[in-house]
Amino acid sequence: MGEIHLTGHPASPGLAIGPVAVLTRAVVNRAAKDDPAQEAAALKAAIEGAAVELAELIATVHGEAAEILEFQVAMLGDDALAESAYEAVAAGATADDAWRAALDAEIAGYRAAEEEYFRARAADLVDIRDRVLAGLNGAAPIAKISGDSVVMGDDISPSTFLAVDWTRGGAIALAAGSPSSHVAMLARARGAPMVVGLGPLPWNGQPPSIALVDGDTGTVIFDPKPETRRLFEHRMAVANAAQIAADAGRLKPAVTADGRRIAVLLNVAAPEELASLDPAICDGIGLVRTEFLFEGSRGLPGEDAQYAVYRRILDWSAGRPVTIRTLDAGGDKPIAGLTIDSERNPFLGLRGIRLSLARPEVFRVQLRALCRAAVHGTLKVMLPMIAIPAELDRANAMLDAEFAALSAEGIACARPLLGIMVEVPAAALCAEDFGAAFYSIGSNDLTQYTMAAARDIGAVADLNDAGHPAVQALIARTVEAGRKRGVEVSLCGDAAADTRLTKALLATGLTTLSVSPIAVARLKATIARVTT
């Protein structure tokens, strides 16, 4: 069989090569005893065995990882968890059926929770359930995975992830999974490359023996030809050397080889991400996504709750500019009670600023919270999905009104600068016509709307290329409009972190790039090699 290329979504950056270890579900069926007492004893032994395994695992990890496992141990040690299972066993159910039913009911309760945080804990309960089931079935709880393996499967549980020593260079390639899962977060923290959403794995029976994982682009190559493997190993060696050099330069300002200072800003999805970061690694925050405030909470967040979060971010940045994007709901980011479910093509529907203007009572709350936060630092506000100047004008008028109302009430506030995201080709082509205080190019949507190709549709993913001359021309045109109007232009999409594009982006005249925290070191190192 020749080499197989699969494309998914990058979940944790980096390159890895290793033998394939396929996660298999325990399929061995245990021989259930007819005796309820024996079944109850088997269940008890499996629960206790699972707790012992987890306790052994805890000894090998620390910090957040240990806390996840301590929670699982506490749950396993609580008789309330298995109460209904023991009742079912006494009534004649087999131990595995009873345990599965009890845990599935518990898991359903978590999945139905209003708070995203509690919903996310369902994965921990699934983990507990499967570990005990594996114990009941007498199966080894976890397929033996050596630390240099490429672990493959539909999805991977946190405890399975934590059982592997990732310092030895392994990686993860999943058919399903999500870049925002608990495991993806852990993988990024451990530096284990991870690709998710590869889709059905295209072999029957015998899996491939070797895999090359590219966590930067979200691609995996199975059973590579010798030449493919040699090129990949060369890339890995270069990347390793570059990472060592880059980490050393993370705290230094970004300067091109010919001495041009480039501002490197951070993209932030939730303020928790900032806790462990030194603000000195960046020149400010180029994008705060505010959707997280609206997800999974009880209804829409109030003014005070939003203000508290915005203020926390401004406090962290210690005077560096912070750009907060107003709610960008709709498209692939539905929000219960706010976005429209029945749109045939939500990417071309009521999303971003369009939705905010259609729901002024929601938008006003956010604008008020932003005005109040603006007294605590250098705050800029940007509007997503702007297509025509009238949208910016209406938002400006609303911002003026809320600022005036707060001032009249004697509440401390300031009017932040209001800019636009350039992500609709119409806005890029006519950028000069907008009275925006700044432009921030959203390269993800700009690319998808320019190329008419979504990046999460595998069949057209090749077309979704931010490096295409058409996309680059729109970026250059926006930079030129900013230069003529004397306002700042930045770029905050994934293209900013794609170091293959850095030279081209800087050649358009861009001087400000905004990337996720993990990409900062590599971007700064790349900038240092660019001559403009």
Binding site: E67, I68, E70, F71, A74, M75, D78, D79, A80, L81, E106, G109, Y110, A113, E114, E115, Y117, F118, R121, D124, E272, S297, R298
Partner: protein, 104 residues
């Protein structure tokens, strides 16, 4: 078994009640639940929590049951405590909540 003992204790000791607002960022989630139950287990008193002053009441020594409460940030957590070391238990519980379970 455990509940039966606590009930017996409840008959002979005054019922103590108090409430506190959850200030830590994501409410009574996994880590705080574990801390709360571990602290509660250190006392002989029967300790219960609820989201409303009139219940329903949940055994504060069971992490499974405490997690089922799904108490979000900003919620008011009510305590109902009875037992020989009830005063000390109440003080410890309130300190834990006020301190944001060490997360705030």
């Amino acid at each position: 078994m455990h509940d039966a003992n606590a009930n017996r204790a409840a008959q002979t000791f005054a019922l103590l009640t108090a409430s506190a607002v959850l200030v830590n960022p994501v409410g009574l989630h996994a880590r705080p639940s574990v801390k709360l139950t571990q602290c509660a287990k250190g006392f002989a008193a029967k300790i219960e929590i609820a989201l409303a002053a009139d219940g329903p009441w949940t055994d504060a020594k069971s992490p499974v049951k405490v997690m089922r409460v799904k108490a979000p940030q900003g919620a008011t957590l009510h305590f109902r405590i009875a037992g020989p070391d009830g005063e000390a238990a109440l003080a410890a519980m309130l300190a834990l909540v006020h301190d944001g379970f060490g997360e705030a």
